[in-house]
Amino acid sequence: MLPAPRFVPMGDQALIAEFGDSVDAALSARIAALAQRLRESRPIGVRDIVPAYTTLALHYDPAAFGAGASPYETLIATFESWLKTQTAAPLPPGRQIEIPVCYGGAFGEDLEALAQSHNLSVEDVIAIHSGATYYVHMLGFVPGFAYLGGLDARLATPRLATPRPHVPAGSVGIGGAQTGVYPLDTPGGWQIIGRTPLQLFKPDAMPPSLLDAGDAVRFVPIGAQEFAARSKAAA
């Protein structure tokens, strides 16, 4: 069950509900589930519902709450009474998403150096990286980018001293204690260990993002041939 949130305004058209103060996969999973349900209930005047590690932000239209009342106070009151109806309902089981990754070679140019820096073999790194289950705490940075928790501490690796001007979409990287997939061609400073043929962000699809907050993710090693076949299928 979620603790009662503390509310703070974020300007005059958004507020933040804070449920805790430290990163915890179980807490962000609950916040993510709450965000999904709230979105489905289509609350009046609310434009965006944005979960993060310990918070849930509501972006709202102050003109939607009628004259006289404070839009901020009205929204909090509505949200609090909605929250009361939610505490008893069990959490829906999170989705399990598998992301195929072709590790190393041209797709993961930093894999060998990363393995060496940890006194591991390339096979060890692949086994450790694909052996864990990761949790999507939240999405941000660029469309479809998931902040994943759960990287094995043995693989934590500093970012590149100089970020690359161009990292191809689908690249799987490690930056500090985090791992993740670049959804778009962007500049990037993470150590790149592989690439997925999946498109994580498709603007014309519904939903446009493969991942959502609360999902569990596993990386599944694939070979170059399968990568080529699946790239073709995804295009």
Binding site: P9, F141, D212
Partner: protein, 341 residues
């Protein structure tokens, strides 16, 4: 109906009221930076509120209208001309097929908005036509205009301002406009020193009193690397004894949502006001948020212009916003009375 892009200008993009409802997937809202000028331009062109306009930044494009069109220009005064004659702002304008809209140097403000009756016919992506070029979505192929582009215009839905059409037919001029105009306070929009009201942010109390004091007493200068993502300010650094408290030394907080107008203090101590293309989450302490009613003033500041912040309460900021909404409704009703003329 279409518009040919003879010259693209510095940064000309299709924008509307923004891409709401996808921030949880990391998709920025985008949309017009000066959303008031954008809305008034749509009202003048007898468009629905959700149509897109062209956001024109500092140095404008050169555009040719391939058919007669009903347009409006609002926001910054970027010295617009039609076939060499000064083009009016804040007015409905009927332009003749073949005429060319051009711009000079910025006279006042940073961003002008061009609306056209029927709207710009670009695909709706996730509920919006707004251009977000980092992800190449919205607008024309997800990017700013380029020379040689052809912008499709939606079909006209009304016979607004029949008198203007008759006047154009009876005249040899490239365009005609009525005597009346919407007062869009261009003189205020174009000031090089703006007072922008702010609300205390989530980490206001965690900043040292001196840092808070500096934020509301000093003038800040708009840095040249400001853009649609953020208005970067130069002035007294606000870090000392401030952000460290928030961050336990690291100058960062747990990433969480940010909004249009969030004033972040990164480790440099130089404030960044997050604007239309901001990322959805941020990891720097939030000292304040700009009042929404004043965001368009920030959007109109040019590099080198100055801003001073004034603290207001949440209740004041929301009352100001609702009052402005009422003013826009009044403007719309006034314009609607002219539509049949």
């Amino acid at each position: 109906m279409s518009i040919s892009v003879l010259k693209p200008g510095l940064l000309t993009t299709v924008q509307d009221a923004g891409r709401h409802g996808y921030q949880h997937l990391g998709v920025p809202v985008s949309g017009a930076m000066d959303f008031f000028s954008h809305r008034i331009a749509n009202i003048l062109a007898d468009n629905k509120a959700d149509e897109a306009t062209l956001e024109i930044t500092l140095r404008g494009p050169r555009l040719r209208f391939e058919r007669d069109a009903l347009i409006a220009l609002c926001g910054a005064d970027l010295a617009p001309t039609i076939d060499g004659i000064i083009a009016p702002e804040g007015k409905a304008v009927r332009v003749r097929a073949g005429s060319v809209l051009d711009f000079g140097d910025s006279v006042a403000g940073c961003r002008a908005y061009l609306s056209i009756h029927g709207g710009f016919d670009v695909p709706v992506v996730m509920g919006s036509r707004s251009t977000y070029d980092t992800a190449r979505i919205g607008g024309l192929d997800g990017r700013a205009l380029r020379r040689g582009d052809v912008l499709a215009v939606g079909s006209a839905k009304s016979a607004a301002y029949p008198g203007l059409s008759r006047a154009l037919a009876a005249s040899k001029r490239s365009f005609v406009a009525p005597k009346w105009a919407v007062n869009q306070h261009t003189e205020k929009l174009g000031r090089s020193l703006q007072i922008v009201r702010i609300l205390a942010g989530r980490h206001w109390d965690a900043f040292a009193p001196a840092a808070r004091e500096a934020l509301i007493t000093h003038e800040f200068r708009v840095a040249p690397d400001s853009n649609r993502m953020g208005c970067r300010l130069e002035g007294p650094g606000l870090v000392e004894g401030g952000a460290d408290v928030v961050a336990g030394g690291a100058g960062e907080i747990l990433s969480e949502a940010v909004t249009f107008g969030t004033i972040q203090i990164p480790p440099s101590g130089k404030p960044i006001v997050l604007m239309a293309d901001r990322q959805t989450l941020g990891g720097y302490p939030k000292i304040a948020e700009a009042a929404s009613v004043d965001l368009h003033l920030l959007a109109q500041l040019r590099p080198g212009d100055r801003v001073r912040f004034e603290l207001v309460s949440l209740a004041q900021a929301q009352a100001l916003w609702l009052k402005r909404e009422q003013e826009i409704i009044t403007i719309r009703e006034a314009v609607e009375k002219h539509l049949t003329e």
